[in-house]
Amino acid sequence: MINLTINGQKVSVEPGTTVLEAAKKLNVNIPTLCNHPDLCVAGNCRVCVVEQEGARTLIASCATPASEGMKIQTNSLKVRNARKHIVELLLSEHRSDCTKCYKNQKCELQALANEFAFGDTIFLDLVEDHPYTIDRSSPSFIKDDSKCIRCQRCVRTCSELQFISAIAVANKGAHQKISSFHDRPMSHVVCTNCGQCVNRCPTGALVEKTYIDYVWDAIYDPDKHVVVQTAPAVRVALGEDLGYDPGERVTGKLVTALRQLGFDSVLDTDFTADLTIMEEGTELLTRLKKILVDGDKKTALPMFTSCSPGWIKFIEHKYPELLPNLSTCKSPQQMFGALAKTFYAQKRKLDPAKIVSVSIMPCTAKKYEADRPEMRASGFKDVDYVLTTRELAVMIKQAGIDFRALEPSHYDSVMGESTGAAVIFGATGGVMEAALRTAYEIVTGREVPFNNLNITPVRGLEGVKEATLKIEGCTADWKFLEGAELKVAVAHGLSNANKLMSLIRKGKASYHFVEIMACPGGCIGGGGQPIPTSQEIRKKRVKAIYSEDEQMLLRKSHENPEVIGVYKEFLGKPNSHKAHELLHTHYTERESY
């Protein structure tokens, strides 16, 4: 153990502990800005400087390991003066239109300014000295360089967590900025729109592109029938933006709130999550049959899940040769959209042209997905507007709803019924677990051999998870699978996905089915979820997802009565011609920069 003194208090820490962490142990708060629990240490904002006895300069507490006998002052005159200067300097290059900013009162720089730099401005305004860009080219987010403070959290997120590096540091000195390949607009680079950078930006430099006003307009238009769908991960995180602790489930209140906002029908993406399992499970079994029985050499295995639009764009850019491995299933959001303007319209006797389809997603990439030209199977734009969890919280506040006081209620029907299998789509491993619950039962006629249906090997926040499931006692139709070992893998966060893909490309992995989610932790850690995020917060959301599953009456997708109904009344069978038209899609090879 290493012994040091901070503000006169003695503390012992493990070797490798930083001064910042040591101070935390003593409940001494040192302000930080570029530091983020998910990212490597940068030590570039210098807000966290502290005084070390005997040192020539101040030291960055986030980047300096504690050493034996160190004497640290976190609030000396030198530290206070430097810190105030640093915050003032950051403010001088930041366009402070705070009252109009989407991040007002949620901005970390604003919070620091409030503590250290109130009163008269010391330094000269530098914002207008350099030309800056406000890039609105992505349908998912806005990149406003005039608010960027160069902490490089976004750059580290994009390279470390997501292995994309769509954004990187360009130029030096006064001209240094966060830029893309050849300064191209964000819509024309390798960006997956995952929004993880948005989730970690301390200021308003990276924010989601908001469609709140469009949705209000639709709600207030008497001619329109506005349907809303909510993704599984929203219900375990929305509360965080409305004063709840991380990990609190607010499903019932969420439904009531949406109804009070004026949506005509409050429906559930979970319904199409169940439908996805039917389509994707059938696709997997068909692929296995083609290869094992028909000896088809063209069919690609392993099959990859296709629910996560950030992941889809990643593979289109980075591993286009593996696109045949991608399930052709649309994501639950887009299946929902396609059915809302066909099946739902028929059922409710509505003109699909008058339906406005809104989705509430934990995701910014979903905004991009909804805009894809392929996503118009209904003859209209299948999903008109995508709001993030954060945007929904804003709408609830705008409407003056006292969220805590709301009575919980149930989703409307039709397309509002779901199972526990659909809920767990929100966590990494969830799609895999849901698929196995159904596929195993289709093939063997028995439930998956796991206690209480909980397929624990695919759960948890480990970067890459693997599992093997032996298939025994097959029914007559599936005898060719008798004794086979189904090998599956699960990865979350694109840098983990990349590890898996590079193995698969080299032929060094022999999986049958692979689940990938673009975001750390899966959708619960999505780019559209409440800020801040950390492993600890994500763990709480995951826990909430699985307890939501446990308390559902139905926990297997194929038992969802509405799913059974939609096949009977409308689609026919899984992977039928109509299902292919509405629920499946194709992919595009894209440039790798």
Binding site: R46, H85, I86, L90, E93, L126, G173, A174
Partner: protein, 386 residues
């Protein structure tokens, strides 16, 4: 002796038999080489002045079998041009210095990081390197030297930014610790030394520490190559014994009207005439990596300062707040003071800012911007304002 009594030395450019020096070093143990360098009192000649022997000792103590010697030839400090001359005239001594350093720390690989603007020297340097590699082969010494070129960024002269640059990354300084001696280029133990330092080490091994020790003062042993420029009738490269005052220097190189000397380039200190006699050039006074710029009374110190700040505003890597934004504030600040758009007392705020930059910047670049700023603003305040 020069006509003004400065002791001219000829160590750096003196021709020696590399074979003999290498043989001599090869017969010594690592500890003996390091002891010689420690006893010589040699401090890094790039400007920062870290004791060379200690650097070698720390690197030698590392257990990793893969270690590196990096020669910092990214000579970018405004007003410095001595490394170019050394490489041009006695590159074999640089290579020999790297080899000896390799023997001392247990490294078999050396990398010369050459300033991008010196690319024109490369064909000749590589030819001479071939000859040197043959000599190493003849002597049975297992050491290999290669070149990496910079691309013109001043910051890449900062050791950890230089490593990043060699590794193909953006040239940005790293957090320290860890220091290069434990985690340098390719995150391996590395001794990074200036061109002149390595050549000096060769001469210390050649002549012995006790001979070298007789030159200079207690804090600044030996001699140093100076790059003399500005308002002087005799600009150029001069190797002189350390210990002289700025006054002695000006007597030798001034044009009779010298009002200030910028010692150590843009990141160094400005010494005004009234402090010439009391200021020693060396680690007890104002240290320098070699740059000595003389200014006579025709020069505006506002322009001089503006030039330096413009330089730093461009050449900061931009990653840390105090340096990236601080440089811009200092530059814009003196412009506004000059134009009368802010009160002259704003200079006091800027001096405080320069102090913050010194205390809170991540690397030596940001930490030293305040040197020139403070010394010019404090000594020539009226020239900045009016």
């Amino acid at each position: 002796m020069t006509k003004q009594g400065l002791n001219k030395v000829d160590l750096i450019f003196e021709q020696v038999d590399a074979r003999e020096v290498l043989k001599k070093a090869n017969e010594m143990t690592s500890e003996e080489i390091i002891r010689q360098i420690l006893e010589s009192g040699l401090k890094g000649r790039g400007g920062a002045g870290f004791p060379t022997g200690l650097k070698w000792k720390y690197t030698a103590a590392e257990k990793d079998p893969e270690k590196y010697i990096v020669c910092n030839a990214d000579e970018g400090e405004p007003g410095t041009f001595k490394d170019r001359e050394i490489l041009d005239r006695v590159s074999y001594k640089v290579y020999a210095g790297m080899t000896i350093a390799g023997m001392a720390i247990g490294a078999r690989q050396g990398i010369v990081y050459l300033r991008g603007e010196y690319k024109f020297l490369l064909p000749k340097l590589l030819k001479e390197l071939d000859v040197f590699h043959k000599l190493l082969k003849e002597l049975g010494l297992d050491f290999n030297i290669s070149y990496r070129l910079g691309s013109g960024a001043y910051i890449c002269g900062e050791e950890s930014a230089l490593f990043e640059s060699i590794q193909g990354e953006r040239g940005e300084p790293r957090n320290k610790p860890p220091y290069p001696t434990s985690s340098g280029v390719f995150f391996k133990p590395t001794s990074i030394n200036n061109v002149e330092t390595l050549v000096t080490a060769v001469m210390i091994i050649h002549h012995g520490a006790e001979v070298y020790n007789q030159l200079g003062t207690k804090d600044s042993r030996g001699s140093k190559v100076f790059s003399v420029s500005g308002d002087t009738p005799t600009p150029g490269i001069f190797e002189l014994e350390l210990g002289m005052t700025v006054q002695q220097f000006v007597n030798e190189f001034g044009d009779g009207d010298t009002k200030a000397v910028q010692v150590g380039g843009a990141s160094g200190f400005c010494v005004p005439r009234k402090k010439f006699t009391e200021t020693i050039i060396g680690f007890e006074g104002v240290p320098t990596g070699g740059s000595m710029k003389l200014f006579n009374s025709s020069r505006s110190m506002y322009n001089v300062l503006h030039n330096y700040l413009d330089f730093f505003t461009e050449e900061s890597c931009g990653q840390c707040t105090p340096c990236r934004v601080g440089c811009q504030q200092l530059l814009k600040g003196i412009e506004k003071v000059k134009k009368g758009e802010v009160k002259s007392t704003y200079l006091n705020e800027l001096v405080k800012l320069a102090d913050t930059m010194k205390m809170a910047s991540k690397c030596g670049l940001g930490q030293s911007v305040g040197n020139a700023f403070r010394s010019i603003v404090e000594n020539f305040r009226e020239e900045i304002i009016y």
